[in-house]
Symmetry: C2
């Protein structure tokens, strides 16, 4: 068996362990805003009565878990020690320590990397790719696997659009050329009056989708 | 021999082929501004009389090479077809086609990824890591290898500082905690009056460094 087949077998075991929870695997470049999105949506999901748990994955540090801990939800930090992606074995290890009993939603924040994490299923229901408007319109074309394998795309940091050359219509067009069924949300995690923007924040739409 | 040892043997052969040229390997997350930096500095280097060549590396597309072609310098696009980093063998293959005769400076733009490209020497003289102020202050701590192995760090997109929460002093502090000898430049590739900023653009300092 090759490594990906073995990974898929463990991913299916994870899926059984996840039970009735809806599991979302967040992919993006470093700094697109994965943790900021979780910080923005988890309080709203909690107030709507959902039980949420988070699995964090990083090459080094538990800085992201420390941010999630402030939200008072069960969270576990996987430190990959250099590996550039999470795999199913790492996630299955985390389930020995993380309390997911009764969880309605489990978020897995993957290592910031638009390439390798796309090849490793973790047992999630869907992958969601986050792309920040600061990264450029061409990323869906240049790093296609992350967009092809994700059901959802979140275009983040739209508060910055007034001071950028980015073309959000072009980002959508490029992403849909890679994955025509992609569901797209446009969000901001900051109340950024400095950029003087009145935008229609898609955060609530994303929460309703979940 | 393991894969990295074999890679180093080929990297040394590349170094011999590079001859007297100064070779810089650019690392960053997707969209930090590697190509934009090359677009900004190559015209100035050319007018200073330097002969420049560029090796581009991407998972898919030759979009970056097409941008470099506008600068009228020899350029070659490596398409890795899914591999998340350049290795010495790919670069040695490109030297069969790219005219580097008499080149004073060769830029290698690596695949956008802060993890794997750091492990593969290509025969370069130095690695330069580009970090955009939009990515967050914690990246040197969370993705340490790219900062530890690079002699130079370019903090890019400083035109956006007035509309961000980013703390450039914190970025410098975190990077120097990983690599105390790092030489740091603060740059912008845009004349961005929209963000209403007067900044001291370090592009010229970076060019003088080269
Ligand atoms: N202006 C603006 N900045 C944002 C937004 N979302 C996140 N940021 C900033 O972007 C930077 C990175 O955010 P993170 O949430 O750490 O990104 P991440 O994807 O979790 O990063 P890694 O886990 O390290 O890959 C931080 O400086 C945030 O403040 C947004 O909607 N608008
Ligand atoms: N405001 C601002 N935007 C910049 C700057 N430099 C680059 N950009 C923008 O950032 C986005 C990405 O720039 P690129 O030059 O394509 O980045 P890259 O690192 O080469 O990207 P990949 O090769 O795909 O990894 C584009 O939309 C650029 O216009 C800068 O100094 N300031
Ligand atoms: Mg994060
Ligand atoms: Mg580029
Ligand atoms: Zn990888
Ligand atoms: Zn890799």
């Amino acid at each position: 068996r090759n490594a990906l087949e073995t990974n898929d077998i463990i991913a299916n075991k994870n899926k059984a362990l996840f039970g009735k929870a809806f599991v979302m695997n967040f992919l993006s470049s470093p700094g697109s805003g994965k943790t900021s999105l979780l910080e923005s949506i988890i309080p709203i999901l909690k107030s709507d009565g959902f039980k949420v748990a988070v699995i964090e994955g990083d090459v080094e540090t538990d800085l992201d878990k420390k941010r999630i801990d402030k939200l008072n939800v069960p969270a576990y930090q996987i430190i990959t020690n250099g590996t550039c992606h999470l795999d199913a074995r790492m996630v299955s290890g985390s389930l020995n320590s993380l309390d997911i009993n009764g969880a309605d939603i489990i978020f897995i924040e993957n290592v910031g990397n638009l390439v390798c994490p796309t090849s490793f299923n973790l047992g999630e229901d869907i992958k969601a790719v986050v792309l920040s408007v600061t990264e450029g319109d061409d990323k869906p074309l240049k790093y296609p696997a992350a967009f092809y394998k994700s059901k959802v795309m979140i275009i983040n940091k739209i508060d910055l659009l007034p001071v950028l050359d980015s073309d959000i219509a072009k980002i959508r067009e490029n992403a849909l050329s890679i994955n025509k069924d992609m569901v797209i949300f446009e969000t901001s995690c900051k109340n950024n009056s400095k950029a003087g923007n009145t935008y229609n924040n898609g955060l609530q739409d994303f929460i309703s989708f979940i």
